[in-house]
Symmetry: D2
């Protein structure tokens, strides 16, 4: 019963096979492998963006901070949600990579609204040498709270940003989940709506460790390559990043694994809605559920070995019926049996 | 005929198998996987260092710069050889990770001598606020020119560094090759000789992409963990780094692959010594040969598809007998047939 | 009628005289001047802190960011008020000097409360490698909104910070105004209450450009010296910083100029309270008044050459009776005639 | 007998007077003072550069590193002489301000030659993502060894740099001394020869603490302003920087003080040439003399209170006739009596 994160499960067999297939003979290093040519073509095709600059790195944080650093000058501020991964979970990596740039938190909600963005941007006076200068907007799709921006919402946000000459980055660690849930095209969800750079996640969705960074305007290409190398994120045996991504993209696997994770999330949520004293706190749009369960339920689940993030505490002490908040994430490998077992135990 | 680098060949089947074995079920992320426990024990055992702090990253540059950053304050200077990887091949990554530290080049040779080190360190006046402050020594073992420091040489260099309160880092991207060639123990070559931190290479010697960083004094552990995270080098699905390293260390595989590469290097060198107009420029101690061959020979080899680094040029124009310098590297997978074919073509 | 800032007026004649007095003969450079010895003794005496490390720089931002950088590791977050100078007016200098540290805004008010501080600090999970780590608290005394922390308030805030192992910095660009208004001793307002490092302002209060940085624990001394030099803030002809500070401290001048500015502020506020349609927005505790006046009043004042910061706008267009917010600051040189004239014109 | 540095003497009375003159009434802060307008016009006039962007900072290191940071990307390397101030005397400030850029030392001499520069630049392979990228050339005029580049030499060096798309910075902490000695115009020595940015020194040559940064191409203006602010080098009471520079430039004072220092240097050198066992090591072109004197002579001079930098040692122990190297610098205030007394004592 593994709901701790979509990074605690195994890689998809097809990705493992692609890795195995890549493991013979000679390949030039540092991104000059022939597999990378294929990956570049795949991603340009999927995004209907034949000029896009496409790169691979091994971690989602690397994708985010290298993309952002390319779009940000050190005296600028990045606009993001208070709960954004770049704000909460990257140990100042964005500030480090951007040479000391600032993060300005927009609003107090999980999702950024155009009005809040407008207020945040205009909160910094344009052309005043004393203040942080206005830099990029970073959106997370799906958000850390498992919510989705619609194509229209993204368009509206990009319009606000661009009206102030701010570029737009999208943290798409769960981009596949978003596309699978929204049923739109990758292009609609990104450059057609105004997104300038995308962190396209693979790791959480069936890979071992690979993320793509896509700049829809290729003028950023060389600077990104230098930043990736300087950040120590350029792989010598790059073929093993390429192979993962190739296997992940082939035959739409990335959308199938994302859809599977979303479906599992929906099933788990459905089941939880039937649990006594369970309150689901978010709208379950992808593979993440935030919910309260009574302490006693958590105790039973933990005793049975269920793995998930308990946000409240303590687990061991206090009233048995006290509601404690937790996060549950389903990955592509989450099967019905596991969900059924979890619900059984939760029911008590 | 692949002699371009030891990062252009495949991973060892045993490492691939370890990866496959790791790919089932749940594993906590970010280094809390059970495999990492095993790897930590393996490395502490191999290095006879039961207290050592042991971490994994995916690139050699990451290992070097994160280790160095942990040992360096931003106003200090790192002492290294003019041809060190950190100086020549990391696009200012050391300066970036160390917050703007300086590199001071020691001597003009491939290997650093104690006398040159003493001169370099004392070239910066201790306690003078105006100058760079004295920071760590970084040694490369084996060097970029394929040379080895003996245990005594390392001890002598560490003694000079420590006498000036400078810690010592060793870039061991080819540490396996060094141990295999010198026939000493890993402990003798590192902490017993005075080395404080080691980048222990896996990638060039049979892995897909994994390097260990070992601090023999564990007080650096938490700072390193923060630096690794902040550098975006902490893997979520960390099990796949652990698995590689576990397979690489099991049953002494790392020493076997290194010995195989060294043996191939020696065989290739032997063969090249018999070539007309070939001059080998370095002492072939591990798996790297620097040599001049006549332009015509290079042309024949290139036409036949041989891959290696040609340092001089141009290949296509000029006297046929002009000696052009090149680098040849053998990895663990380099077989006798490949060497024989190369020599055949070189002979003309 | 100059109320734009306390940095738009002249330096005090006694400070100018001290500068003149210092301008003869030889003085060792870079802080080894004999005047600096006197300044160090003066400040240790004033603060009853015979061991304190005392340094001079030329700008308030330099004092703040060098002091903070000495107390902060790059992966940490500084806690400050949303309107703090380090957040709003230093163009990412704190982030730059701290190697990419983050600023966490505490509460939504001008002054930080212990409860808000506790929430902010515990908002970052201790020992979690993924998040920003807990770093120093930075208090501004007097605040950007012209408010004061009492000795008890500072003690309570320092207690919260220290309970979480967070050091405390005080931005005292207007420290003199605070001491003059509160009637306590400098020691009571700083180290006795728990403050670890102070930016002690001179520039706004009668000097040309000099600020002291005081560490009550001298173990930070050498690191600060290196950071000051590396930041390009170590003056070669340091005697001219020392001389200013010496003249500023001699015979309690710094308290007299601060008291004069506070008195002027109180008089201006008193007068403004009698103006029709004037609303004073802050409690006038030192030399700063935030107030709304009708647009027509602003227009008259501007036409007459009054200088002050108009926060709302536009000045020229809109209803004559619309209330527009402005900031008025009195410096030590602000005389009664100037205030009277301003009020006359405001009255219309 | 003060020959320690040109930063150990007093400021020129005319500069002090300008400071005094500036000290009345209101002036907008942060560089918007009316005096700055005058200074900008003065410098554009002196340099025959009506479009130049002109800024003031308080230290020579700030001028150098802010100018260089504006011309350098973090992955680039700056080319400079091994003895350059930016390499030897700025405690990694260039690396800090340039975000971790590298310094490549050109040749082994005090002055850079075109051939050595060509070798140094081409030593970094263009377009190779692994290496430092080629960045600006920084020349020091006059050099740290008191030598001068002729206009032709500067032109030749700039031609090499520009042929490789490298911009050129000149560290002119002693620019006045150079112009006074060479008898050319400021324009000839800078932009006409190809210099892109100049640190124009005031501090060493009669001011209290002010340096100009001049970009001959004004497109760098706004970035420089942001960098100056972010570096905490923007003065609030900026009028006092402007006033110094205004007084320094008025009526050619800067050239008179420089000429006076050069003349004093020449006189001291002449006298020293007549001393027994004195060997002058550099060509005395400006105000700096490097020479060996017997230990006994140094002992007599020190006993008599002479101040200068002794590079060898120890002073107190060893053969009386052992030659010890020292540096002697004359500033604008160095009078004949002081020189005569020094020579008297040196003669014994």
């Amino acid at each position: 019963m593994y709901f701790a994160s979509d990074n605690t499960g195994p890689a998809h067999p097809a990705v493992m096979q692609a890795l195995q297939d890549a493991n013979s003979g000679y390949q030039p290093s540092y991104g000059a492998d022939t597999l990378m040519e294929e990956v570049r073509a795949q991603l340009r095709d999927i995004f209907e963006a034949p000029e896009a600059a496409v790169y691979l790195v091994a971690t989602g944080t690397a994708a985010n901070v290298l993309a952002l650093a390319t779009l940000t000058r050190p005296w600028e501020t990045i606009f993001c949600a208070p709960r954004a991964h770049i704000q909460m979970d990257e140990c100042n990596a964005p500030e480090f990579y951007c040479g000391g740039a600032k993060l300005t938190l927009v609003g107090q909600e999980d999702k950024i609204t155009p009005a809040a963005l407008e207020r945040a941007i205009t909160g910094w006076v344009k052309g005043d040498v004393h203040t942080s200068q206005r830099g990029p907007l970073s959106l997370t799709q799906a958000t850390e709270w498992g919510q989705l921006y619609s194509v229209d919402e993204i368009s509206a946000l990009c319009a606000v940003a661009h009206a102030h000459d701010c570029p737009v980055h999208m943290d798409g660690a769960r981009f596949g989940n978003a596309v699978a849930a929204l049923g739109c095209t990758p292009a609609e969800l990104t450059w057609r709506a105004g997104v300038d750079a995308l962190s396209f996640g693979g790791t959480k969705n069936g890979c071992l460790g690979v993320e793509a960074v896509i700049f829809f305007d290729p003028r950023h290409a060389w600077e990104f390559e230098l930043r990736r190398k300087r950040g120590a994120h350029l792989f010598s045996k790059h073929r093993y990043l390429s192979a993962q991504m190739k296997g992940y993209l082939a035959d739409g696997l990335w959308l199938q694994t994302a859809a599977a994770a979303n479906t599992a999330g929906a099933k788990l949520a459905d089941g939880m809605r039937g649990l006594p004293d369970c309150r689901i706190l978010n709208e379950v749009e992808v593979n993440m559920i935030f919910a309260t369960l009574p302490r006693a339920t958590h105790q039973r689940l933990h005793a049975a070995g269920a793995a998930y993030s308990l946000h409240d505490g303590p687990l061991d002490e206090g009233p048995a019926d006290a509601p404690l908040t937790a996060r549950f994430v389903c990955d592509w490998s989450c099967d019905e049996g596991m969900i059924a077992r979890f619900l059984d135990i939760a029911r008590g």
